[in-house]
Amino acid sequence: MPKIEELEIGQIIATKEFSITRDSLVRYSGASGDFNPIHYRDDIAQSVGLPGVLAHGMLTMGMAIQPVVSWLGDSSKVIEYGVRFTKPVLVSANEPSAVLVTATVAVLNPENNQVRIDLTTTFQDTNVLGKAQVLVQL
């Protein structure tokens, strides 16, 4: 478990690159119960004005926090997690999409041993999750 006195604001505590494929989207559809076809059929995605199939926002959100969970060693230390879905992550039929997550210390609260970690989640040089903040209990 990380110690609050060893952290400083602006410190990067984790980075990880994820590779999302169509298989990832099908797996998440099954696990979550979100079977919206815009997450596996290009023709339907295009018929509603999208460039093509895109990842579930909730898949990106669920994945983006994992480097923080690994750093904590236990997901139960997460007490609050919120994001805004600002840009879609497009996933083509045959090429994986690379998503890079960087987790940075934003706020330190030594009085209750809580730390706010902010996430930057980049796909094609664009941040896809706005205001992505994780409050953790150390």
Binding site: M58, Q66, S75, E80
Partner: protein
């Protein structure tokens, strides 16, 4: 798009959802989660009675409450035009495999913005002792015609 009169409406409590160990594993694999959600011995070594869920797992419970809104004729909710705008989870305690959960959704606000509706829901998730476990807050954008 959506009927603004449902602002403030509280939807009935959902049927109990049993958090299954294999469901936790399935969800964990789908979001690239770690051993606390996959390996029972590891979860127990951290002091949990069973596998602990990944932080976004409560969306599965939230979905049960949201289904009540989508199927409510009075809500006039056009789900085909919905985009997920924001999502937040606030935990009172961790969710563990074996938990029996119900949820209650409250329509917090409906705002009009540039021809779209922004609808914010709070879903309170309770365990079988009626203790609050998690609040899931979701903002959906219903795009105008």
């Amino acid at each position: 798009m959506v009927n603004p009169d449902i602002q403030g409406k509280v939807y009935p409590r959902t049927a109990a959802y049993l958090v299954g160990r294999e469901k936790v594993r399935e969800f964990a694999k789908a979001v690239f989660a770690g051993p606390e959600s996959l390996d029972l011995d590891h979860a127990k070594s951290l002091g949990h009675a069973d596998l602990v869920v990944p932080p976004t797992f409560p969306v599965v419970i939230q979905e049960q409450s949201l289904a009540l809104v989508i199927n409510d004729p009075a809500a006039e909710f056009d789900f085909s035009r919905v985009v997920h705008g924001e999502q937040k989870f606030s935990f009172r305690r961790p969710i563990i495999a074996g938990d029996l959960l119900t949820s209650e959704l409250n329509v917090v606000s409906i705002k009009s913005l540039g021809g779209n509706h922004m609808v914010t829901f709070d879903t309170q998730i309770f365990d079988d002792k009626e203790d609050l476990v998690c609040i899931a807050t979701s903002t959906l954008v219903v795009r105008g015609e």
